[in-house]
């Protein structure tokens, strides 16, 4: 973002690989290929890093981006609406508004890769706390439909699972173990109103209460929640336990029965599957569905998409040191926006060159032999022409036609809240050493409307993204801006006094077409448009790996640090 208003010429016109754009994949490839010894030129037409995963470090920068969106200058984004409720001093510094406040699951391949690449110490990693779902008393009161009523053709599967469960069922008692019938004397808290959060009661037998603030109820995830929480009936507990067992087993080839049930129900919606095969009450289905982070209602998420997400959640849960109730992490100072910057720096450290504010205006094959043997030539906005064997980037960054798909759009919003909403970020268990800096709140659309839920990713000031005493809410939904505002309002009403919104930025993300990606001409590789997932998906890593393999001829050595640098680092460690 430093502009000294001069445009020094590039150190060379001859490169192994040109990478246009500084998004996650581009930056990842810049590091991997630089470390593998290729000469890398990484450009970005913008004067900032990250592209569609950028962060803005003041409200004026966010405003400027919104203006560009509405002028049609930001491919893939439309209809930005800025709303300034509070007063702001000057340019509104002290905020980091990220377009990519991603969650990273502990067990994701991405995190594993960063660790092996010796890159994790470049970040502050923060814990993602609980998921909270907004459910009214009426919604919670609806009982499970039972296998017989709705399960056309699935009842049989349900019976099979039940048999399977009892066959495997020596451990079945596990989900009920430790729970005694007599209820623990319940401290009547919450009546006073000072502390919005009902105090969690942990009896000597380990019995716990799922936390609840008004209608926001914690999603039962941890073993303690499912096994011991007195908010669940024994029957629900049993079914939920069996379902979670199924989630962990469905992809295990030695578990043939689970695999078969999965194969038979790939296209079944999560809602149908849960209401028939593991009959649990609808509100638990809604809660479990929220863990997938798909912006669709549970009736529209096929099992084959839901299960990998749920399995990712549950295999990650309990693995993070000092915060066993957490399954995911997030990067401070902007999530993946920060990731892009750290990766680009790592590329520079490995010998690559990053240049901001200089895009590609024309990419074509290099036909003139006088210009050397490189396959491609690229004209840059600076007027320079460079020659390269490979050019990697999204269509828009390689001056190629962008194809819009007719698919769904996602509405997103970033809200600055004038209070810290501390109840969202409290430690779940007293013995945990780490306080979460992020939490997830989900406002399902009413069953009748059948619409899409609204997800809210709350980020505390501990992310370094807002001043202390405030917090940020990032919302995303397939529904409308109005529904998003209503959902935010519901969440804010849980605070007393009512929290105000100081600033909000809403925008719409288009689904860009995936046709025409890949190697479109010799050496020119068009990246898939970035998905707007709120989690950092391993597909991002996979696509980068595939391109690395295409260029290097092998996946070996991806992101590996050279022996020389490794030794140097070890010496420094003393």
């Amino acid at each position: 973002m430093v502009d000294f208003s001069d445009t020094p010429p590039l150190p060379s016109t001859d490169w192994d690989v040109l990478i246009s754009g500084t998004g996650i994949k581009q930056s990842l490839l810049a590091v991997a290929l630089s470390r593998a010894g290729k000469s890398i030129l990484q450009l970005d037409k913008n004067s900032y890093y990250g592209g569609s995963a950028a962060a803005f470090y003041s409200l004026s920068e966010a405003d400027a981006w919104a203006t560009r969106v509405n002028n049609g200058d930001e491919v893939g984004f439309t209809n930005a609406v800025v709303s300034n409720v509070g007063e702001r001093g000057g340019s509104g510094r002290g905020y980091t508004l990220s377009l990519a406040p991603h969650l990273v699951y502990w067990h994701s391949g991405f995190l594993g890769m960063l660790r092996e690449a010796d890159l994790t110490d470049g970040f502050s990693w923060l814990a993602v706390g609980s998921w909270w779902v907004c459910l009214t008393e009426e919604e919670v009161a609806v009982p499970a439909t039972g296998a017989g009523s709705a399960g056309i053709g699935l009842a049989e599967a349900g019976v099979k699972v039940a048999k399977l469960a009892s066959a495997a069922g020596k451990k079945r008692a596990g989900w009920n173990k430790g729970r005694k019938k007599e209820p623990v004397a319940e401290a009547a808290v919450g009546g006073g109103g000072e502390s919005a959060v009902e105090k969690k009661v942990t009896g000597e037998d380990g019995e716990t209460t799922l936390r609840r603030v008004d209608n926001f109820r914690e999603v039962p995830c941890t073993f303690e929640d499912v096994a011991w929480s007195k908010d669940l009936t024994d029957k629900d507990r049993g079914q939920l336990g069996e379902f979670l067992r199924f989630v962990m087993k469905y992809s295990d080839p030695t578990e043939q029965k689970c695999a078969r049930i999965f194969e038979e129900n790939r296209q079944t919606s999560l809602q149908t599957f849960l209401s028939t095969t593991f009959p649990i009450p609808p509100f638990i289905t809604t809660s479990i569905s929220s863990l997938t982070l798909f912006p669709s209602p549970p009736s529209a998420i096929p099992l084959e998409q839901a299960l990998p997400r749920l399995a990712g959640h549950f295999t990650s849960l309990g693995k993070i040191t000092d915060v066993r109730s957490s399954a995911a992490l997030t990067i401070a100072y902007g999530g993946s926006a920060e990731l892009c910057q750290v990766l680009s720096r790592a590329a520079a450290v490995a010998g690559g060159i990053n240049v901001l504010g200089r895009g590609v205006t024309l990419l074509s094959s290099n036909n003139k032999e006088s210009n050397g043997t490189r396959k491609l030539q690229a004209q840059l906005a600076s007027g320079e022409t460079i020659y390269t064997d490979w050019a990697i980037g999204e269509a828009t960054d390689l001056a190629k036609e962008v194809k819009r798909a007719s698919g769904k759009t996602t509405a997103r919003g970033i809200y600055i809240i004038e209070t810290d909403m501390s109840w969202l970020f409290e430690r779940k268990y007293k013995d945990e050493g780490i306080t979460p800096a992020t939490a997830v709140a989900v406002i399902p659309s009413s069953q009748a409307a059948g619409g899409a839920p609204i997800y809210i990713i709350a980020r505390s000031a501990a992310t370094g993204e807002c001043p202390r005493g405030q917090c940020l809410l990032h919302a995303f939904t397939e529904s409308s801006y109005e529904d998003m505002n209503t959902a935010i309002d519901k969440l804010l009403r849980t605070c007393s006094p009512l929290s105000k919104i100081l600033y909000s930025l809403q925008y719409t993300v288009d689904t860009l077409g995936r046709e025409g990606v890949g190697e479109v001409e010799d050496g020119a590789v068009l990246l898939e448009p970035v998905t707007q997932d709120i989690t950092l998906q391993d597909e991002v890593l996979e696509e980068s790996l595939a391109i690395y393999e295409r260029i290097m001829g092998t996946r070996e050595g991806f992101m590996e640090v050279s022996e020389e640098i490794r030794r140097m680092k070890e010496e420094m460690e003393e």
Partner: protein, 244 residues
């Protein structure tokens, strides 16, 4: 380095960022400080995210995490993450090149805009070896007769000093080649960092201390503060331990 038997004194990790025009000798200064070494034609990149070096003073031990630009200053591509949580900055110019001082002034104002409010900035005029009148070699040299007898010097000490005083910067002239004043700059910085921004070093990773400073960036919260940051390195080590 320091004896374990000494009474505990303040020991802290400090992030130091280097800034300045290309080829003024930023990396050479670091190399002199860290390895007491100098290479005539140093490659512009350094190969590690940052280098570390301890500076032991009577009252405190500072472990510098020294971040080099990795060449990113050349094409306006230094990211906000570079300045983030930097407690001190070394802004370097070349005393034989007046334009490099102009660039240095740009960097100082950039730091004042982007970096933490309490950042300690040192302005360093490098290549002092080129300025000193070298009597044996300098006979008949073109600059030999100039008023200040300053060799190739093109930036007056007084001029840079006046600017530094005005902006409240530490000021030194150094030679990475001979080592003159290099230790002095880092010691002066180690002394100048206010106690309130120092905190005990955390863990073996070293980074947690650097990133965990309160009052991050420009008024934001304190990411990485105790009880917030998840240490992945520990996790990795624990895992490796298990696998063995």
């Amino acid at each position: 380095m320091a004896s374990r038997d000494e009474a505990p004194k303040l020991s802290s990790s400090v992030k130091l960022v280097l800034l300045g025009e290309a080829a003024v000798g930023k990396s050479s200064l670091v190399l002199r400080f860290v390895n007491d070494d100098f290479q005539e034609n140093k490659e512009p990149t350094i190969g590690a995210a940052f280098l570390t070096q301890k500076c032991t003073l009577p009252t405190r031990t500072i472990k510098f995490e020294i971040w080099d630009t990795a060449g990113q200053e050349r094409f306006a591509s230094l990211a906000p993450m570079y300045y983030r949580n930097a407690q001190t900055a070394l802004v370097v110019y070349d005393i034989t090149k007046p334009t490099s001082l102009i660039k240095a002034k740009h960097w100082v104002s950039e730091l004042q805009r982007q970096a933490s409010p309490g950042i300690v900035i040192a302005l360093v005029g490098n290549k002092l070896d080129l300025a000193a009148p070298v009597l044996a070699d300098d006979d008949g040299g073109e600059e030999g007769g100039d008023a200040m007898n300053g060799g190739n010097r093109a930036v007056l000490t007084a001029e840079a000093k006046a600017y530094a005083d005005e902006e409240g910067l530490l000021f030194y002239e150094t030679s990475a080649k001979t080592g003159e004043n290099v230790q002095g700059v880092f010691e002066a910085i180690a002394n100048a960092i206010p106690e309130s921004t120092l905190k005990p070093r955390a863990g073996a990773g070293g980074f947690a201390g650097g990133s965990g400073r309160a009052g991050a960036g420009s008024g934001g919260g304190d990411a990485g503060a105790a009880g917030m940051a998840v240490n992945l390195e520990d996790g990795v080590r624990a895992k490796e331990g298990c696998a063995c």
